[in-house]
Structures are given as structure tokens and as C-alpha cells.
Amino acid sequence: MSRNTEVFVIGGGPAGLSAAHVAAKLGAKTLLVDDSARVGGQLIKQTHRFFGSSNRDAGIRGITIADKLQQDIKDVAARLTVLENTAAVGFYHNKEAGILSQNAYERVTYQAAIVCTGATENSLTFENNDLPGIYGAGGVQTLMNVHGIRPGQKILMVGSGNIGLIVSYQLIQAGVEVVGLVEGMPTIGGYLVHASKIRRLGVPIHTSHTILKALGTDGVEGAVLCRVDEKFQPVPNTEFEIKCDCICLAVGLTPLIDLFQQAQCRMVHVGELGGLVPLHDSSMRTTNPDIFVAGDASGIEEATTAILAGRIAGARAYEAVHGKSAEADAIVAEAREELRTLRSGSTGERIRWGRERVLKEAGEC
């Protein structure tokens, strides 16, 4: 069995939905596949209001933005086919890919592909880190905000980036007690307004601390924390126990890049972007000229930047099939300017550095 399309989008999170919408709206025959039962990616779990510019979705809850994106793709249904519960499993020669759904395998022939596979959660090394009750932050959000189930009664959060801070707040909203938040660095990693929100509700934030071990045999019953020095080494005699029945690890994400490697895209390791990412230019095109990237697979950032990068990739993928277009150019220019605004300021420094490094390397290859 095989399908033929012009623009093939892999991944239906904010980046993929935006890319598919733009490509189809401009006029490309588009196919979008997502391996979940429902498109929307991680956006469907974000109950909080988004930051950014009020010109684009700031102040609106992530779940509402997800609804908007889902409506957008319905609006272009004439040119866009969406297959849920369908995983893209391989790239082959001659612009062919393989997709698998409900044990049925199909080939897809495409002219341009946009890979928006997002990221996977990092784990953390500590004694008993495999106990039941130790979940990734995304796992906690899924259980809580999609399935309506609390991950526990008392949870310890590890990691003070935006995800750790936001999920802590969401846990409180779900009626879970957050017994503490642990952060190895001396300063809080995420936005300080997020930290203030949970601090004033009584959540202690232990910076310069780490988790040494989880306690329990059949499940989490507690944890042992200790202070760390500037070299992140445990400081002797500072251990203390904290009672909890669940530990949430919010210790970073790593881009999911298997498909790029299969397509023989050149990769580059950029710590600020979460690890290995496909080398790409400012049109989101990788070193494989038929393959574009957008969203966290291009470097860990946020939903707002994923939407904008998806729009750029969608526009350029359309052009790869149908030739240059003034409308596509306008979409790219607008998205680029919005990305520049979002990434400006001191909180955007790391991301700017990471993104610039990729573009520089792309220019040299």
C-alpha cells in the first residue's frame, strides 16, 4: 500500500500542525502523521497562560492554543490529510518514507518532508531511580491533565526550569501537595514569576541541592536530598529525608532525531539546544534538501517558537514543491521577526547562542 503527497509532515505537535497548516493553505497537497491518538503534542497538557507577544497568543492558555491549531488544520482539510495513531518509521531513497498504523504498513512518496518529532524526557542518575512512582514531568502532566489522575498525594519535584516550576503549579491546582523542589544550580532556572507562584503557596525551593536516593521497595516512600557545592559535589553531612509518594523529574529534554539520522542529515551537537540536532539553515532546511525541521527536534525551546518555526518550514516546503511565492516569503519574514523578538533579552541568551551556532555551522557546510 502506498500514498503519494507533496508535503509530508511528521509529528502533530505545535510545530507540525503549524507547518501542515501553512503548507496546505499555500496550496500544497499535505499529509500529516502523528503517533498519538490525538494531535496537539505537549500543548494539550498546558493549562497555564502562555507568555510572548499579545499579537500572537500571549495570555492564552496552552490548551486553547491547541484548540485553535486543531481548528486551523480543519480549515484546510481539502488539501490536508491527517493520520493519527500513525508513526513514521523510516526514510528511504527516492523520497520515500514508511508509516505504520494499527499494524498496517504503508509507503509514502513525498516531495518535501518536515520532521517535527519533538523531544524525549531526560532521566537522572540517583540510587533507586527506577522505583515505581518516579515519573518524567511530561508523564505527570499527561496523567494529570489528560487522564484526570493525580500522580500521588505528596510529590517531590526535581528541576527548576520552566517545566519543573509550571508542573509544580499544575500539581497544586490538581490537589497534590508539592513537598519541595530540588535544583542543583545555585539559582532558579526558569522564569522567576513561576517560582514566586509556587513559593507563596508554600513550596520550598532547594537550590544547590540534589537528590541522592529514592526510598522505598515497591514504590516511592521518600527521598534523601543533600546540598551540593559549586562543583555539584554532595556536601558531607547535609543529607536530609523528605517524605513523598511520587518524584517528578523535570531535568531537561533531548531532541528526537532518529529520522534525521536515517535520512543522512548532518547532525551537530549543541548543548544549549539539548544535544544532537540536525544542521539546518534559517529556512529550517537540513543538509538533506528535501527535509525540513521545526520544533523541539531542532533544539529544545517552547511551543510559541515551535509554531513560528513550523510556519517557516511549511512555507519553504511549499516553495520546494511549487516554486517561489511572495505569500510564502511574507509568512517567513513575519515569523522570523517574531522569533527574534521572543528570543531577545537576557532570558533568551542561551537559546540565541545555540541557534546562532547552528546557523553558523550550516553556513560553513
Binding site: T47, R61, L131, G138, L143, Q153, Q173, G219
Partner: protein, 105 residues
């Protein structure tokens, strides 16, 4: 034990779903039709889904989106079923998988 199911939420509303019976290790439990098996077990207080093949350590789910394979169980006779993304059906038989499981050649 206070229920882990969220009855009311300040931002979200959860849809009405049909309650169904299912069996874990032969014992009867209840869950909502269509929710992931691992979620139904978690709501019933069951966090240990299997034991690791070599050191027999208790394992639960981790990523909840079908990526890490921590949640695999034997469901209706099928081993290696990722219970965090497999929807619950009336009468399902869920068992802890022993080790790597056995696939008939």
C-alpha cells in the same frame, strides 16, 4: 486512601466516561472505558506494573506516552503491550509480564 482521580479542576473539565470492569492478576477492578490501562491501574492504587528481568526490581510507568517501554504488561494474552497508551476495554485481562515474555515462533 483518598482517591487519586481528580473530581473537580480549576481549569480543566474531564469528559464523562463509562465505567468498565477489568482484571489485574485475576482480581476485578474498575476503570473508565478508553483510558490507558496504566492510568486505570494507577487510579486503583497499583503502581508496580512488572519486575525487571534480571534483578527483579519493581517497575512502573515513566513517560506515559509510549516511548520508554517501562509500562509493558501482558494484556489479553499479548505480551509487551505498552499499557500507558493502550485503551482499557470491558473485561480486559491484565497481567504482569514475566521477564522478557515469550513470543510464539
Amino acid at each position: 486512601m483518598t482517591s487519586l482521580r481528580i473530581e473537580k479542576h480549576p481549569v480543566l473539565s474531564f469528559p464523562e466516561r463509562r465505567t468498565v470492569k477489568f482484571y489485574f492478576e485475576g482480581k476485578e477492578y474498575q476503570g473508565f472505558e478508553g483510558e490507558p490501562i496504566a492510568a486505570a491501574l494507577h487510579a486503583a492504587g497499583i503502581k508496580t506494573l512488572r519486575h525487571s528481568p534480571q534483578k527483579n526490581r519493581a517497575r512502573g510507568f515513566f513517560c506515559a506516552i509510549g516511548r520508554c517501554s517501562s509500562c509493558i504488561m501482558k494484556v489479553d494474552g499479548q505480551i509487551n503491550t505498552m499499557t500507558c497508551i493502550t485503551p482499557l476495554k470491558e473485561g480486559m485481562q491484565v497481567k504482569m509480564q514475566k521477564g522478557h515474555g515469550y513470543i510464539k515462533p
